[in-house]
């Protein structure tokens, strides 16, 4: 008898430590599982303002860098699951479609300036809202370009870019700087090429074929253009071609920041590093589109897109869903909300103020002058990490020895790799 009593007492003791403070209110709750660690501080402050103003319990939790999908899986299994969460791309949408509320008709959609960044499922329902976007292209140091006797106006397509780069590379010793920064294939840098640069052949292929969902196979129609621009990157740079696998992203950034190269392929997120960390003159740097020799590319703009799409959890109570949608609307219409979001990056909302990021401004100017936006076609990549690894390994092999046979392996990793990954993911 006493044994049972002891057991019961021990149980009570342990349970008392773990009583959940679950007092569900009718107002619903907001729980945003945030993917951007760099935005955590700003978002927390905003959540506090919102909670004080409305009384709706608002919680924002930020997953540690690189652990978002693990954290999301774990949090979604809990009873107090996130009401607002991130879906990175079309591939992730296939995994989380059941969990995402169809946003069609929600007031927050009317606040968008473009629907390009939203995620739409195969049934045509808008499932996630692209709330922040980024652009990438080739960052140019105009001051160095002029020092080498060239100007930005010369560069309008692949041939003119190649002419300028070849000339600078040929005179690198005399000038003291080279054309391109190192095209590192270390994991910290490889995504710039297997992800971002590979977007160009993908984008043009999808545009020709009118594809707007994840395709099962690729034709690889523009893989040769990929080769042309990759050759340019590695031929017209100081970096050794056999040591690209260990060349890092920081290395390339530093080469550009320290004025050792004129061209550097990266995105709008590099602005503050260039201006604040390396102290480059904001007037000396700009971003131009990536040219790879596709007909009509003179009219291309920057590659713009996002991996930050917010979805409302379809499996929480209706009160929670409503509270979350109200919160989202407040974020993009209220003064505090817009100020916070725009401090994190470029946002596609009507109330957004003008950008302070020179690269974003360059991108907007291109669009304003009638150039076409190159969307992030790579968002459809099946099993994206594995596909990119295949392309990276083949690129590394090709870079060490630029033969047609080695390029055939890149093409195979690109085209056959896609089909294999597609079958894997859907198998």
């Amino acid at each position: 008898m006493k044994k049972i009593l002891a057991l019961a007492l021990a149980l009570v003791m342990v349970l008392a430590l773990a009583i959940p403070s679950a007092f569900a209110a009718d107002t619903g709750r907001v729980y945003w599982l945030n993917m951007k660690p760099e935005a955590d501080e700003a978002l927390q402050a905003m959540a506090k303002v919102y909670e004080e103003a409305t009384g709706v319990p608002t919680k924002i939790v930020t997953a540690a860098s690189g652990t978002y999908s693990d954290t999301l899986t774990a949090e979604m299994a809990k009873s107090e699951a996130p009401t607002l969460f991130n879906i990175g791309n079309g591939s992730a949408l296939l995994d989380w479609d059941d969990y995402a509320l169809a946003l069609d008709g929600a007031a927050v959609l009317d606040e968008l300036t473009t629907k390009d960044f939203n995620l739409v499922n195969e049934a045509g329902e808008t499932k996630a809202l692209g709330w922040i976007y980024e652009s990438f292209g080739i960052i140019v140091n105009k001051a160095l370009l002029e020092k080498a006797g060239h100007s930005l106006d010369e560069i309008t397509n692949f041939d003119s870019l190649k002419a300028v780069a070849d000339d600078i590379h040929a005179r690198a010793d005399e000038l003291g700087f080279d054309a391109f920064t190192s095209a590192g294939l270390d994991d910290s840098s490889a995504w710039r090429f297997t992800g971002h640069l590979a977007n160009l052949p993908l984008f043009y292929e999808f545009r020709d074929e009118g594809i707007n969902t994840q395709p099962a196979t690729l034709t690889g129609a523009y893989v040769d253009n990929f080769r042309a621009i990759w050759d340019l990157y590695i031929d017209d740079a100081a970096a050794e071609k056999t040591s690209l696998t260990t060349a890092t992203g920081d290395q390339a950034e530093a080469e550009f920041g320290e004025g050792k190269a004129v061209f550097y392929q990266n995105g709008t997120w590099e602005w503050s590093a260039m201006v604040d960390k390396f102290g480059l003159n904001p007037d000396d740097i700009t971003m131009i589109p990536i040219y790879c020799g596709v007909a009509g590319e003179e009219d291309a703009g920057l590659c713009s897109g996002t991996e930050n799409c917010l979805a409302v959890n379809a499996k929480v109570s209706e009160a929670d869903q409503k509270a979350t949608l109200d919160f989202l609307l407040w974020c993009v219409t209220s003064e505090e909300g817009i100020a916070t979001l725009s401090s994190i990056g470029d946002i596609p909302f009507k109330a957004a103020p003008a950008s302070a990021n020179g690269f974003s401004v360059a991108g907007s100017d291109l669009l304003a002058s009638g150039k076409y936006a190159v969307t992030w076609a790579f968002n459809y990549t099946p099993n994206v990490d594995s596909w990119r690894t295949g392309v990276k390994d083949a690129l590394a092999k090709y870079s060490a020895d630029q033969t047609d046979a080695n390029w055939a392996d890149v093409t195979s990793a690109f085209v056959d790799g896609w089909a294999i990954e597609y079958n894997m993911v859907n198998g």
Binding site: K2, K3, A6, L7, L9, A10, L11, M13, V14, S69, T73, A74, M76, A77, S91, L94, D95, W96, D98, Y99, D187, E240, T242, S243, T245, T246, P382, N383, D385, S386, T389, G390, K392, D393, A396, K397, A400, S412, A413, D416, G417, I420, E421, M424, V425, N426, G427
Partner: protein, 303 residues
């Protein structure tokens, strides 16, 4: 022999023992609960999930053995399995032989033996991920002279991993062997000397049988370590290079643990298969470890 009468102050006194006997659940319960929450329950749930299709554990749907079939049909898994087996054999032999001889050398009263022991042990204090990145740089710097690089083919990656792990673990095993060697009874060694045994005879007939417990421990540790190897594998090559073989992708230098990890991340259709691989992996390591324990235990001698 008759029991001594208890005076009530000894630890095994009835007055102390009885309350402990009666109230022990109170004391073990918190730890036991933690053990259930942190180990037993996830373990059972893990096995259950290996028979399900799931994205989060909440929406698991029973599918029977489909995940196991899928796991074994995966060319990458089979390849990782072969890799791991080869790696385990090579590293067990290499690490134990080298660790034993370093330990043997360092127990021969040479100058600065303590300093050497410390130095050899130190690599073990560095984390696997850091080691992976450092060695990747070292190997690449060397291979650059021959116009190639670490992830160019699977041979470099495999032997690179062997060198890394040997470098990391030899020091640890060495410490265990040193302890074993120091406990070899001095009189046995002396008797061997008097009987005119050669150095080799002393080693094989006296020393090795006496350090058999250390060998059991060290082979067990190296065996399980090589099967469970993850962070060094991830950081050194990450499985690269990836090649397409018979219409399937294979990461040439991927070991089992890393393969399971990357399987999970393919898509929600593969969560169950990754879980099934993990269960197979557990059974494999458990069976091998038990088999190895019984095999080496039999050779141990009583001192």
């Amino acid at each position: 022999m008759r029991k001594k009468k208890n005076d009530g102050t000894a630890v095994n006194s009835v007055l102390i023992r009885r309350p402990i006997q009666r109230w022990f659940p109170l004391f073990i319960l918190p730890t036991f609960l933690c053990f259930i929450i942190g180990f037993i329950w996830p373990f059972i749930q893990g096995i259950y999930l290996s028979f399900c299709n799931f994205n989060t554990p909440r929406d698991a749907k029973w599918v029977g053995f489909a995940n196991y079939i899928k796991a074994f049909k995966d060319a990458g898994f089979v390849h990782a399995f072969q890799n791991t087996a080869a790696f385990a054999v090579v590293s067990i032999v290499l690490i134990n032989v080298l660790a034993f001889f370093i330990a043997y050398a360092l127990t021969q009263r040479i100058r600065g033996a303590n300093l050497y022991r410390t130095v050899f042990f130190m690599p073990n204090l560095i984390g696997g991920v850091v080691l992976g990145y450092i060695w990747a740089m070292i190997f690449d710097a060397i291979l650059k002279r021959y116009s190639t690089y670490l992830t160019a083919n699977s041979t470099y990656g495999f032997w690179g991993l062997v060198i890394l792990v040997a470098w990391q673990q030899i020091g640890y095993m060495m410490i265990i062997y040193i302890a074993g060697l120091q406990s070899v009874p001095e009189d046995m060694l002396e008797a061997a000397k008097i009987d005119g045994a050669t150095g080799w005879q002393t080693l094989t007939k006296v020393i090795i049988p006496n350090v058999m417990p250390s060998i059991t421990i060290c082979t067990f540790l190296t065996l399980t370590n090589s099967f469970k190897l993850f962070d060094q594998n991830l950081a050194l090559t990450g499985g690269a290079p990836q090649v397409i073989m018979n219409g399937a992708k294979v990461n040439m230098t991927e070991l089992l643990a890393l393969n399971i990890y990357s399987t999970y991340n393919i898509s929600k259709n593969w969560h169950g298969a990754a879980q099934a691989k993990a269960v197979v992996f557990f059974i494999l390591v458990a069976v091998l470890a038990i088999a190895q324990q019984t095999a080496t235990r039999r050779k141990e001698v009583q001192q």
